[in-house]
Subunit: 298 residues, 2 copies
């Protein structure tokens, strides 16, 4: 039997009661003036707001290729049967496919594209690897949304990311309207960590990918956060991208329109912030949800 | 035993297959130039689009009174236990209270307010009565929306309204944001009747007030309608009103924000269009959902 040294937990969560902790980490980790594709003003805005919208990060032809690949993947019965596919409770259609950068060469290329990786490096101030990747489909006619959450809360509790040193990018593969369940972020919410109440059940991820339970903020906390920060909704054409800090409080409504809202979602984590044992869960989630291979993207 | 004469059904629905019928009725029933509170241009726009937004139809002090009354009503356990209250499946909170103009003196006054009644008379070209009234609460934190539907489809099939000669007004009691499940209408969709496939089950209303089933358009029909007409979302401050024709294709998404989206909804029907036997249901719905008292509002 070995005895592990006692770890410091900067961000306690899943305890008896909800509790807030001020952010203990920078938002932008690179030294001021470090060269990179993000302009200084945009980097400051990212620091303040926790997000950065980039119009047409990916051009129309590339979007067409990515969409064709998405259609191919979601039409493949072997992929639907794969544990990495999450199926919509109502329609039994594919809602998400995880580890898409490994499943698909096309999405794999996107995950190592310098337009994305250089921005992630600039924000995180180090080499990066993919902690999680997926395509999300919100096919319309009643597809559910995602309730409010901080990704970091889950990645810390269930995947063991120790620090807030990860950044996500969502690249729109279809037009995002105000009406088709587009992303909502509370700007500035990333500066406070909301530790959620309630222990993590075993295999929580199997339920939580369909509907949240553990890791869900209370109505009182959401009311207070929305009152402090407001809610910003992200709309835009296919190919536009939204970068957002790992601790942004965000969510999305359902989509009853006929306009699918699909995106590819990539999470870059600093190689200096590799996943450890979970901070508040009995076992880590599977590798396809929270990577254990920390090889930097070159 | 009496033998009823065979009725003409201008708008067949709930048959074996979905079918469309061009609208057989005017949208605006009053003769051109008939005096009334709606300006000629607005009336033409209503004819064309099927809706008319009126900013601040009700002033801030009246909104405050209506909201206080709504809070009183939804906090009353007797009203929650009343069959006229519809409870949210997820939270078990009140979602709608029907026949609100009879339950509440305050809402009763609104239902006979000349600002509303005169507009309804002008559109329908006759005296009017209340076919249905309710308050709708969408309290946030995950309240469900209403899937796409034409009200007239149900009122014809299940309540027996023979003609398209009814108009609804939704008065906002809280701010309507793009993010809190506000009303969506397909402008111009009121000019075509979409008869839905499938027979009406007995007591369909008990289920359909929580989630639609019979009377639900197909994905193909919705795609075609949205492609022809687009989708318009209605936002605005408390006190603003949206008038819309009984046959508009409309719906709303869910509401995960902390901002409740509440409204009072009144349906004026022409006294010359009184409810008959249902056109496509075994029995009429209860009076509190589809009135059988056709006394004109004076």
């Amino acid at each position: 039997m070995t005895t592990a040294p006692i770890r410091t937990d900067l961000y306690p969560t899943r305890g008896a009661a909800e509790e807030t902790t001020p952010r203990q980490d920078p938002v932008v980790w690179s030294a001021p003036g470090t060269p990179g594709p993000i302009a200084a003003d945009d980097l400051s805005a990212f620091d303040r707001d926790g997000f950065l919208a980039v119009d047409q990060l990916v051009g129309p032809e590339e979007v067409a290729e990515l969409r064709a690949e998405m259609d191919r993947i979601t039409g493949d019965p072997r992929i639907k049967a794969d544990e990495r596919s999450i199926v919509e409770p109502r329609s039994q259609e594919i809602r998400s496919v995880f580890e898409i950068h490994r499943i698909s060469e096309v999405f794999g290329r996107l995950a190592s594209d310098p337009r994305l990786v250089e921005r992630a490096r600039q924000i995180l101030g180090s080499d990066v690897y993919i902690h999680q990747s997926r395509i999300n489909l919100k096919p319309g006619f009643g597809a559910s949304g995602f309730y409010w959450h901080s990704d970091f809360e889950t990645w810390h509790a269930e995947d063991g990311l120790p620090r807030m040193r990860a950044v996500s990018v969502s690249v729109a593969l279809t037009e995002n309207y105000p009406t088709n369940g587009s992303l909502m972020i509370m700007p500035g919410s990333h500066k406070t960590f909301l530790g959620c109440a309630g222990a993590t059940p075993k295999d929580n991820y199997k339920r939580s990918l369909q509907m949240q339970d553990a890791g869900t903020p209370s109505n009182e906390a959401l009311t207070s956060l929305a009152s402090d920060y407001g809610i910003r909704q992200f709309t835009g054409s296919a190919g536009s991208a939204t970068w957002f800090d790992c601790n942004c409080m965000h969510g999305s409504g359902d989509n009853i329109t006929p306009y699918a809202r699909s995106n590819v979602f990539l999470v870059f984590n600093s190689v200096e912030n590799a996943a450890e044992e979970p901070f508040a869960a009995p076992v880590p989630r599977p590798d396809f949800i929270g990577a254990r291979d920390f090889t930097p993207i070159r």
